[in-house]
Symmetry: C2
Subunit: 204 residues, 2 copies
C-alpha cells in the first residue's frame, strides 16, 4: 500500500495509474462545470490535474474521449441506491437524490454538455444512452425488492418504473423552466408508484 | 377578398402582411429542418420565401427573432386537441399526436434547435417556456372535461396531468435513445391516467 506520507516510495503502477485517471477525470468535470464543453482543452485539463498532457494522450485519444469517460464516471456514482424496506420511501429517496444531483452547478453544467454541446456528436449519444442504462440498472434492486415484498405487481418492469420516476424531473429541468425541488421529486415518486400499482409498467 | 387568380389586384395590406409572414415563417422552419439553426441566415430564409430580405428586417429584428416566432407558431398548432368523450381515449390520442409530431424530420430538427443550438440563448429559453405553457393551456379542456364528467378527481391539476403525459415521451426522445412510437404514447397515457386516478396530480 502506498501512503501520502511517503511520496518518495514508488507506488505500484496500477495504483498510480488509477490515481492519475481519477485526477484527470475530476479535472475534466471541473473544466466542464466552469467553462463548458466548447472551451475544454486537453491542455487545460492537464494543467488543472497537475499532469503532463502527453500523460493524457497516452490514456485518452482526445478531449472527447476524456469528456465521455468523465460523464460516464460521474453519472455512475452520483445517485445513492436506497433500501428502506418500503418502495414508497425508496422511490422518494431516489427521486430526491436525482433532484439534488441535477440541480447542483456541476449537475446543470453536465446536463448542458449532454444536451447542448454534445448533441451533434454521435459518440456522446452513445455515452448518454449507456449512462442512462447504467443508472437504471444500478437502481433496479429498488424495484425487484419491492416486487419480492409484494408491494408491486409481479410483472412490473424495473427500468420502465425508473424511467417513469426520472421523466417528470428531467422534463422540468430541460423543458418547462419551472423550479425543480423536493416537491418535484415527491410528485415524480407518486406518479411512478401509481403507474406501477395500476399495472401500467409491465415488461414488454 | 383577394384571390390567386387576380395577382394584379392589390390585396388589403393586412392580408398581404399575413401571407408574407406565413411564407417567411414556413421558410424559416424549412431552413431549420434542412440545415439547422447554426446555418440559418435571413438571406437564406428570404430566398426560400421569395421576399426581399429588407421585408424580413422590417418585421423581425434578426434571425433569432425569426426562429423564435417560427418555433412558437409551429408548436402552437402541431397537436390537435381531441374530444372523444372519454379521458382514456383523449389522453391516448393526445400522446399519439405528440409522438407523431415529434418523430417527423421537422419535429426532430426543431427539438434539436430548442435543446442544442438554442440552449445558450436566453431568448430561446423564454420561447421554450412559453411554447410549453401554451401547449398545455390549449390541451387543458381534455382534463377539465374529464373532471366535469367525474372521470378524474376534482382537484386534478390539468397542467400537471399533461406534463405527466408528455414527460415519458420527451424523456425517450431526448435521453434514452429508445424507439418512440405508439407503444410509447400508450404507456405515457396509462402512466398519466393512473397518476391522476391515484390523486397524485393535485393543484399545488
Amino acid at each position: 500500500m502506498e501512503s501520502a506520507e511517503s511520496p518518495s516510495k514508488r507506488a505500484p503502477a496500477a495504483g498510480r495509474g488509477n490515481r492519475m485517471r481519477a485526477a484527470v477525470l475530476e479535472a475534466t468535470l471541473a473544466e466542464l462545470t466552469e467553462s463548458g464543453y466548447a472551451a475544454l482543452t486537453v491542455e487545460g485539463v492537464a494543467r488543472r490535474a497537475g499532469v503532463h498532457k502527453t500523460t493524457i494522450y497516452r490514456n485518452w485519444k482526445d478531449s472527447d474521449g476524456l469528456v465521455a469517460d468523465a460523464l460516464a464516471g460521474h453519472f455512475a456514482t452520483d445517485i445513492p441506491i436506497p433500501d428502506t424496506g418500503a418502495v414508497e420511501d425508496d422511490l422518494r429517496a431516489l427521486a430526491r437524490s436525482l433532484v439534488a444531483a441535477m440541480t447542483t452547478r456541476a449537475g446543470r453544467a453536465l446536463l448542458t454538455t449532454v444536451l447542448s454541446d454534445a448533441a451533434r456528436l454521435p459518440r456522446f449519444a452513445e455515452v448518454k444512452h449507456a449512462l442512462f442504462e447504467d443508472r437504471f440498472r444500478r437502481a433496479e434492486p429498488v424495484v425487484t425488492r419491492a416486487v419480492e415484498r409484494g408491494e408491486l405487481p409481479a410483472d412490473t418492469d424495473p427500468a420502465e418504473l425508473l424511467k417513469a420516476l426520472a421523466a417528470p424531473i428531467y422534463f422540468r429541468l430541460v423543458f418547462t423552466g419551472e423550479p425543480v425541488d423536493e416537491a418535484t421529486a415527491d410528485r415524480a415518486a407518486r406518479i411512478a408508484l401509481a403507474a406501477a400499482h395500476a399495472g401500467a409498467l409491465p415488461a414488454t
